[in-house]
Symmetry: C2
Subunit: 400 residues, 2 copies
């Protein structure tokens, strides 16, 4: 399958009585919400039906895989409620995240404490709540888990290439296979269950073939350990599934085919381990739209053809990812002639520039007070918000 | 004066009965606070006596200047209280910041709405509270001010070189001198008072000579406009005064001498305009210390001599500046043999690495659970904190 022919379509919720027109025509529920509610800007609105559709699409694309929603992408209660309804599992980065999913009604059996960097007290408290799955990538962390969560199932995270990812994760996480072998061998002696291997190919991974090599390497390691009597149950393929930004992305089915193919190659068609996925961005990114307002438009000091468009949303209201991600940006005036712009946020900080050299154009008729919509901003925005930089409040969010 | 011979000493508050030893021996009040209170980490503690000493040192170094505290650096109420007691003025970036200083007892006459990017409603509300000084760098903003703050005094911000700054601010802010001339000429016809010129040489500016050129240029512009009958009252020299990070910095007196010299050169020794300063980082940076805890130490996957030291404080708990700023980092074990480290935060985000290639070393005896102190972290930390990334709460702060 040629990668360039594969483009994901945003799942569309059930059509409302009147199909909307305008910049949010693909998001009828959100268009209706902004129209009816006229919320103060900047704000994020998320269509939880799209969240559900994304979840179902991924589960369908990788049959038999368990989907652990990486709640750090967006831990809002309405999203957790929807996940609980769908019977999801949860990848949690902290004790607080674990408490959030339990509060939403999730079972601790469905929770993975996926951060490889945990305080002893957090581990002990998670264990007290019945959480039994923990990730690690070092002997120090393994010992911490042994001491604070006796009997836990441990995953060892190996370091893999993140080529093709918009947001590569190495070298902060993951250890070498030699170290993984040592960790998993030590686990039983410490009263732990060596349970699985995990890896992460990097966030917003555009290359569907990137899972193959780590799957093969993990399978090799699992076979080696099995010969010593250490039979790992699970293989955690991490996240990395993309949201729809400016660049076309492969369809989720293409990811599924590539992953299933690699699993068959690594394990044969009959005896796979328990396969886990940790989608975050993919689940809720495309479901959200940020509505911002134009605060100021002024000419560039050097290039009179270029306008600086200052929005009331910027790097400190949750949009810190524009360094590696180009959001689709639409306005009510998109039919009008366009011209080049720098897009910046409202704070007195020079780093609060979203796009300076990314080739964005906006309508020449755009004026102060106009609304601007940043699409696919449902993930990694609300929780990134600065609490009060320049006195501005964090990004408000709504779930419809 | 040779720049390399000028190093700032942190102002020391009155000695306590017993001088402390250990890593915080230069911060006796903070050492005593951490010892007595044993606060949950990570947290910031700020010595407000140091805040006061910094304020007084700057005022002494640039006599006759009005000091507008840039409250975005740290808007905590105890700092604002101290500033009000000292009779400071305030540079505010948003309506919320204005409301904070007024609530602390400041007079609106002492407030500058210094952000060049303001919503119409924010301007109107500030004006309703009696704020009369507004910055702008575009005709669109001038017209917005005219409509929403009739009679206001306007400053036009010109764009200047930020060479020598750790955190350069151009090109987001400031306009050309031609544009400034046009803006200030138009102000009277719109019912505004063309009041002053402002500029900013960039945050953490290490080169004391950087104020000279913009002062001379601003003086030229003021003379030109005076010939047309537009007599500007004020010259706002912005901020840029540094805090003490790893690199030595010139003493505040050196900044004062360079600025006074440039003002004399530009205006003669007798008739200066009203000179304004906007220090933020300088006022409260050195007064604060972040106490963090070591969560994990593990060997680098490629270089066994290098340890990854994961703290419970990181880029999402307010430390986003390490891209351009190297904090001094001390521990209780600093006498022990040292070894190279990467210093990273606790979140599941690969960007949450504070220092990877900056040559930091920490004691080889450092262990999980040990405390680590980041010095001069009183500015641009608390408000930068992510509200809840990975479920971690924002940085807690204390004022002693």
């Amino acid at each position: 399958m040629k990668k360039s022919t594969l483009y994901a379509a945003a799942p569309i919720p059930a059509a409302p009585e009147q199909l909307p027109t305008g910049p949010l025509k693909d998001f009828p529920k959100l268009a209706a919400f902004f129209e009816a509610r006229q919320p103060e800007t900047p704000c994020l609105a998320v269509d939880t039906d799209i969240v559900e559709a994304q979840y179902k699409a991924l589960v369908a694309a990788v049959p038999d895989a368990l989907c652990f929603y990486a709640i750090k992408a967006n831990p809002a209660r309405p999203i957790l409620d929807r996940m609980v309804k769908l019977g999801a599992n949860y990848d949690c980065a902290s004790l607080n995240e674990i408490l959030m999913v339990l509060e939403a009604g999730a079972s601790p059996a469905n929770v993975l404490f996926g951060n490889t960097i945990k305080k002893a007290g957090e581990i002990a408290e998670a264990h007290r709540h019945g959480v039994m799955k923990y990730a690690c990538d070092s002997l120090v962390e393994l010992e911490k888990i042994a001491k604070n969560a006796p009997g836990a199932k441990v995953f060892c995270r190996i370091i893999v290439s993140n080529s093709g990812a918009a947001w590569p994760l190495s070298k902060k996480f993951g250890c070498t296979e030699d170290m993984a072998r040592e960790i998993l061998r030590k686990a039983p002696g410490l009263g732990l269950v060596p349970y699985g291997i995990s890896f992460h190919v990097g966030s917003q991974q555009m290359d569907v073939t990137q899972w193959r090599d780590p799957i093969l390497r993990a399978a090799g390691l699992m076979r080696e350990l099995a010969q010593e009597g250490i039979r790992l149950k699970a293989l955690n393929l991490g996240g990395g599934f993309p949201a729809r930004y400016r660049q076309p992305i492969p369809a989720v089915e293409a990811y599924g085919q590539a992953i299933v193919g690699a699993l068959n190659e690594a394990f044969g068609e009959h005896f796979w381990p328990e396969v886990m996925l940790e989608p975050g961005r993919y689940i809720c990114g495309d479901a959200g739209v940020i509505q911002a307002e134009v605060v100021l438009i002024s000419p560039d000091a050097e290039d009179p053809n270029k306008r600086w468009v200052y929005l009331d949303a910027g790097k400190f209201s949750g949009l810190i990812e524009p360094e590696s991600i180009e959001y689709r940006i639409v306005t009510e005036k998109d039919g009008d002639p366009m011209g080049p712009v720098v897009i910046a946020g409202p704070t007195c900080d020079s780093v609060d520039v979203l796009y300076e050299n990314a080739g964005y154009e906006l309508p020449l008729t755009l004026a102060v007070g106009d609304k601007v919509y940043l699409l696919s901003t449902g993930a990694y925005t609300t929780t990134y918000s600065a609490i009060a930089f320049n006195g501005f409040p964090p990004l408000k969010d709504y779930y419809v």
